[in-house]
């Protein structure tokens, strides 16, 4: 590429995938255009009530990222926009965008919602799957980002009936909009943006089951899709979380979920893949539904295989079954009948063949994932190929690449995947973009300007109070002038303003000007919630040269006017008390400073497997010095024993090329037979001592990545180790690769699944064994067609596109026999003519009678277990592990490769069992996340943090061990506890636990909170 690289990236699609990729890139020195075709970012995840496997509330964990990307200096949100054309090549693209008019000026609109109240037109709300309705002028959902409203051109009276006839029809919104944000002159815009790379994350659509007439979706009112049920569960949904039967609004007593609607189905939908998420989300919906009904609900899930293969998903299945009483019925439901009160009758065959009928109040169709409608249109415009199902995933060792260089894909655009894997792929895609644009880092990003700050320490407080009307949102209920008058009398207050919109741009300049002219050293804004507006006001204080922490808000909107609308007198009194609290707090607040810390531009990668090597390569290609430590004598880890991927790609060849690339990269220093002795320091400044080949080294590095992989379970059951015929699937793969004669001579081979997985000691699924066994079975049948291959399984978990392999195996005669935990197969050695032979006895689930197979080989699908030195590494880096010994990430969905301890990252089997492609993606994701620390050149820490006064600490150690971020350590020499302010997140738990007030959290001290209480009580 001769032309210079553009230091910007376009991310298409504003769901959780696009948001994660955008934030990672924006935090590591690239400008990002986040293009979303709907009026607000958030994607499908914004529609979810809770998310598995932790039952976190979806909005709780998504909204911080929404707000952050909404106001990130290096991200430009372009909503209501679609990609029209793309020209150029990797490093230098020109993308044409078509922006549909919003008819509302985003800058001016403050999201007060008055227009929506006045708008006469009601429209079925697609966000709530049509269950509720919205107005013609609306926001996509309550916490939408951007929060500006948008007018629906198909339903707005003026736009449909007035505009072209030049008549002023309706226009109530214009009349009532206090900040003149409505702008009907807006037309369609075409703009072009220059970017270096493009990331596609336009996500999924749920399968529309109308075609399944036998399920009666669309005709039987009490049949709904899982996404509609999700909206019904959601507290901010149409029924605000109450379970209601659509037919009569009554409370459902019995709900059935039908799995695999539009997935694993060739006949009707042609979607022969498994959508990977429906089993687990059905469990979640059943659990949450039972919680909403306080247990008085019979929840049954009709399924073929229960595919909970992700990290902690198996435990979730067990909890659903035993703790939450969800009924799991293994039966493929063909059709639904409707009784005369709209109840639904299901006739199904049980395992033992007996036919049963049950009636349910509600049936939820667990619809699968299909590619977004525009994905095909977008792919054509970008010139990238999609597979036969319309997804972009295709067999190669670059899991997030597309068929065109410089364009990457992540999330459901690639293929059906859950949110943790989506977020990993988003970070990986950001990593690819960053590597090809490494030279152009920090070229287009806006530098963070820090004006000089005047020191007001010691001055008597001079408080400026700004009481906001927020148009009529506050003003209509709270008597703002009365509150302003009251505020004038409060001690320390020298100036009070009564403003229409405190957050508007012109009011920011008024605040700056008043700080100057009135020499104010404290600011109180009485308006809305600090959660969304505090950062903005703090920025205003910074620009006015005042320490941003000398600021406090009184929430007189969400916590006052909006919730006491009918009681103006009480709301006004309460507003006064809330302002009094804010003033009594702000006068005690001190100036806080953020500490800039240098970040050593070097990374330590522990573990030289596929994940570790990919991470090291990505970092090195972005100019970072990498130290790669491998415990064994050679690189490669467990992958050395694998020959082919599921779709027959040569793993050995890939591994060799990967090892060459690592060894030949000048910035990567590889240390074999390395063992870490000691790790000190913290994010940006670690010092690690290790020995390698007899020498001791001490290196300084800014970040650390743990990629120490996993181990293969050594079976003790099924005569493993006592009979040469009993081997593991990896042994079998080896023999297959060498076309070993013993195999050629064999008549029967029996594979047994879940050996060491999904049992009491290891209650997790090792994810890869089902696909591995199917791969081997197909290769066996292709080599030797008349060889009998049996697979004894509990649940066949060939997720995603591997479902095709499972189908192919069945077609070419591989026999699958289901066994249950309490009737495991029996492997014995029985006398045969010239010695002993292996015999496997298993109960056939269809015949219900034991089946005896004399076999030449028994191939055990053994579990992947945690790395053996996991505990030692965990202690060295002070990072947690889960009960099974795998490492515990900061957040299973939103930060899957970070630890709660900053600066330490995680990838590969050490996180959880996964396929080679997934380890590659996670390795690259870890590199990207590490770059957000390394690229910032200086880390900002501090602000609201805790500190311990060494003079007053008595060494009682009550606080030591309380901190999840290991920020508190004990100084054995001085016999006092100390807090590392870089790691401290300011939660204040140590301050509340400290018995002597030696520990204090700045601006959340006991003194301040007591003052607040006093102000609120008197």
């Amino acid at each position: 590429m001769d032309h210079p690289k553009v230091g910007a990236v376009m991310v298409v699609g504003g769901g959780v995938a696009g948001i994660q990729a955008a934030l990672d890139l924006a935090d590591s020195g690239f400008f990002v255009y986040l293009v979303e075709n709907s009026p607000a970012i958030g994607g499908v995840m914004a529609k979810l009530d809770k998310t598995f496997p932790t039952n976190d509330c979806s909005m709780c964990i998504l909204s911080p990222k929404l707000v952050e990307s909404g106001r990130h200096g290096n991200i430009e949100l372009i909503t209501n926009a679609e990609v029209e054309s793309v020209r150029g090549s990797a490093g230098n693209f020109t993308v044409g965008l078509r922006i549909k008019p919003r008819f509302v000026n985003i800058e001016k609109c403050v999201g007060c919602g008055v227009c929506a109240e006045k708008c006469p037109v009601k429209v079925p709300d697609r966000f709530n799957e049509g269950l509720g309705d919205r107005k013609a002028i609306y926001t996509k959902y309550a916490q939408a980002v951007p929060s500006a409203y948008v007018i629906d051109p198909e339903h707005c009276l003026y736009l449909t009936k007035g505009l072209d006839k030049g008549k002023d029809v309706c226009k109530l919104c214009v009349k009532h909009c206090a900040s003149q944000a409505i702008d009907f002159e807006q037309g369609e815009q075409f703009i072009a943006k220059m970017v270096g790379a493009i990331i596609l994350g336009t996500g999924l659509e749920t399968f529309n089951p109308t075609g399944f007439i036998n399920y009666g979706y669309g005709t039987y009112p009490n049949v709904m899709t899982s996404i509609e049920f999700e909206r019904m569960l959601s507290a901010s949904g149409p029924t605000s979380g109450h379970l209601e039967r659509p037919s009569d609004g009554g409370r459902p007593k019995k709900i059935a979920w039908i799995q695999c609607v539009g997935s694993r189905d060739v006949a009707k939908s042609g979607n022969a893949y498994c959508s990977s998420v429906c089993c687990t989300y059905a469990l979640k919906e059943a659990i949450v539904a039972r919680e909403h009904a306080h247990g008085e609900l019979d929840a049954a899930i009709f399924h073929m295989d229960m595919r909970t293969f992700g990290k902690d998903f198996e435990r979730y299945l067990e909890r659903a079954r035993y703790e939450f009483g969800v009924r799991l019925v293994r039966s493929r439901i063909y059709e639904l009948q409707e009784g005369e009160h709209n109840e639904l009758i299901i006739r199904y065959a049980q395992l033992n063949g007996e036919v049963k009928t049950e009636t349910f109040d509600l049936v939820v169709l667990s619809v699968g994932m299909v590619p977004g409608k525009q994905n095909q249109v977008l792919a054509n415009k970008l010139g990238i190929g999609l597979n036969k199902y319309g997804f972009s995933q295709y067999p190669n060792f670059n899991p997030v690449s597309t068929t065109r260089e410089g364009i990457y894909a992540c999330g459901a655009f690639q293929g059906p995947m859950d949110i943790p894997r989506t977020v990993m792929h988003a970070s990986a895609a950001a990593g690819y973009a960053a590597t090809i644009l490494a030279g152009a880092r920090n070229t287009l990003t806006k530098p963070v300007v820090k004006p000089t700050q005047k020191d007001v320490a010691g001055q008597a407080p001079r408080v400026g109070v700004f009481v906001c009307r927020c148009g009529i949102n506050i003003g209509a209920v709270v008597d703002v002038p009365d509150v302003a008058g009251y505020a004038r009398e409060l001690p320390g207050v020298v100036h009070v303003e009564d403003c229409l919109f405190a957050c508007s741009q012109d009011n920011q300049s008024k605040i700056r000007e008043l700080i100057e002219s009135k020499n104010l050293n404290r600011i109180v804004v009485a308006s809305c919630t600090p959660r969304t507006h505090e950062p903005m006001f703090r920025q205003t204080l910074r620009e006015a040269g005042l320490n941003p922490y000398l600021f406090e808000m009184a929430n007189i909107r969400e916590h006052c006017s909006w919730v006491h609308a009918g009681n103006n007198e009480a709301a006004t009194q309460k507003a006064k008390v809330l302002v009094k609290r804010a003033v009594s707090r702000v006068v005690l607040q001190q100036q806080l400073y953020e500490i800039d810390l240098g970040v050593e531009q070097a990374a330590l990668v522990v573990g030289g497997g596929v994940a570790g090597m990919n991470c090291a390569l990505d970092l090195a290609q972005q100019g970072i010095q990498v130290y790669l430590l491998e415990k064994k004598a050679e690189l490669g880890g467990l992958t050395r024993r694998v020959h082919l991927t599921m779709d027959r790609r040569n793993v050995k060849g890939y591994l060799e090329s990967l090892i060459d690339a690592v060894e030949s990269n000048p910035l990567i220093q590889v240390y074999r037979k390395a063992e870490i002795q000691d790790v000190r320091g913290f994010v940006g400044n670690f010092d690690t001592t290790f020995t390698a080949a007899g020498q001791t080294h001490v290196i300084n590095h800014g970040v650390a990545v743990i990629a120490i992989g996993g181990r293969q379970y050594q079976p003790v059951e099924y005569l493993y180790g006592q009979d040469p015929g009993v081997i593991t699937s990896l042994d079998l793969e080896e023999m297959l690769a060498d076309r070993s004669p013993a195999l050629r001579a064999a008549d029967n081979i029996v594979m047994i699944q879940c050996v060491g997985s999904r049992d009491i000691e290891r209650p997790y699924c090792s994810r890869v064994c089902c696909s591995e066994s199917v791969k081997n079975a197909i290769k066996l049948k292709e080599n030797w067609p008349n060889l009998n291959v049996y697979v004894l399984y509990r649940d066949m978990r060939t997720y995603g596109f591997f479902e095709g392999l499972y189908k192919k195996a069945r077609n070419i005669g591989v026999m699958f026999i289901k066994y249950t935990m309490d009737e495991k197969p029996l492997v014995e050695r029985v006398p045969k003519k010239d010695g002993l032979a292996l015999r496997v006895t298993v109960k056939d689930h269809i015949l219900g009678r034991p089946l005896q197979i004399e076999t030449d080989f028994v191939a055990l699908a053994t579990a992947i277990i945690a790395p053996e030195d996991g505990e030692r590494i965990a202690k060295l880096f002070k990072v947690p592990r889960n009960s099974e010994g795998f490492f515990l990430e900061a957040h299973i969905k939103l930060r899957p490769v970070d630890f709660t301890t900053d600066g330490v990252f995680l990838c590969g089997l050490a996180h959880a069992p996964k396929l080679i492609d997934e380890s590659i993606a996670q390795g690259k994701a870890a590199a990207t996340r590490a770059m957000t620390v390394l690229a910032s050149k200086n880390l900002v820490a501090g602000g609201v943090v805790s500190a311990i006064d060494g003079e007053r600490c008595s060494g009682c150690r009550i606080c030591v061990g309380l901190c999840p971020y290991s920020a508190i350590s004990f100084n054995e020499v001085l016999k006092v506890a100390e807090i590392n302010q870089v790691l401290c997140k300011g939660c204040g738990v140590c301050t509340s636990a400290c018995p002597t007030t030696a520990c204090n959290t700045s601006n959340f001290s006991d003194e301040i909170i007591m003052a607040e209480i006093e102000a609120l009580c008197t």
Partner: protein
């Protein structure tokens, strides 16, 4: 240099503080050498009337111990305040109500009924309760009024210095006397005769990490004399109490009960201790917490053993 007029008085107390002053043993002579004791009911025979006649401020130093429980306590407290240059709240009762203030958990009438009517050894057929006034053929008799609340000294009169402890240890008393004699006293309102760090700073026991699986009542466990008592599951209030007592109770293998009062900046010793204890319980589920709670039977009576009067809630009030 003229002798120091010294007064020692006891309100609702047990006399332990006065005996503690005697425990300075031979140094009592040094005190006698520099001080002229004008009131010390436990040891000397001065009468209230004598003190009443004294000019205001003529007492240089008054060591006032005991809580204010009845009107006589209050009356004498006000008189001594008026007569004294430096009024010292001496010992836990004067500073924060002490053991007598445990009565604030009970109702005034229940106390009288229990003491004068219900106790097995009481013979009081006609159920006579003490009255403030009692006419007799020869004249009226008066008794002080029994208040429904036990006050600390500074809730009644202004106090110049606080010397905590139940009782304050002799060495600390000697230090206070010397400080007064030499005149180098910290600003008024300060606590003297105690440290600004908690007992843990003084305590020689080995401390490892505070993760408590179970709490024990003191008779339920034989404690290891080397190890921190709290870490062994005893509710030792050392961490939340001022040092200065030489960890006497802990040295006797008994958990500290917080008589030296809270550290500077702590508003309520009992609530603060509860906050610390809650943080170091090793529990994740409500069931586990209930399990651990079995070992804590009387939080109010234990965590406010000496500080009920100055606690935030002050006592039990019938709602």
């Amino acid at each position: 240099m003229a002798k120091l007029n010294l007064a020692l008085y006891w309100a609702a107390a047990c006399g332990g503080c006065d005996v503690a002053v005697l425990d300075v043993n031979e140094k009592i002579l040094d005190i006698a050498a520099v001080a002229n004791i004008v009131l010390w009911p436990v040891a000397l025979d001065h009468k209230y009337a004598d003190v009443a006649k004294m000019a205001p401020g003529s007492i240089d130093l008054c060591l006032f111990n005991g809580a204010i429980r009845n009107s006589e306590n209050e009356q004498i407290a006000r008189m001594l305040r008026e007569k004294s240059q430096v009024l010292v709240a001496f010992g836990s009762c004067a500073i924060s109500g002490g053991i007598p203030a445990l009565a604030n958990l009970k109702d005034r009438d229940d106390i009288l009924r229990r003491v004068y009517l219900e106790t097995p050894s009481t013979v009081n057929p006609d159920g006579v309760l003490p009255q403030t006034g009692c006419p007799t053929p020869v004249g009226d008799l008066h008794l002080p009024e029994f208040y429904d609340f036990v006050y600390s000294l500074d809730q009644v009169v202004e106090v110049d210095y606080y010397v905590p402890g139940c009782p304050p240890t002799p060495q600390r008393i000697w230090e206070v006397v010397q400080a007064v004699v030499s005149g180098n006293l910290p600003p008024r309102g300060a606590t003297v005769g105690a440290l600004d760090k908690s007992l843990c700073d003084e305590c020689q026991r080995v401390k490892r990490d505070k993760k408590i699986k179970r709490f024990y009542r003191s008779h339920e466990i034989i404690t290891d004399p080397e190890l921190c008592l709290l870490e062994q599951g005893l509710l030792c209030m050392g961490p939340v109490t001022r040092g200065g007592c030489g960890t006497q109770c802990i040295n006797a293998n008994m958990p500290c009960r917080g008589c030296y009062g809270p550290l500077p900046g702590v508003t309520d010793q009992g609530a603060k201790y509860l906050s610390s204890i809650g943080a170091i319980m090793d529990a994740r589920t409500p069931e586990e917490v209930d399990e651990i709670m079995q070992g804590i039977v009387d939080p109010a009576g234990t965590f406010y053993r000496f500080g009920m009067s100055t606690s935030l809630l002050k006592g039990a009030v019938k709602q």
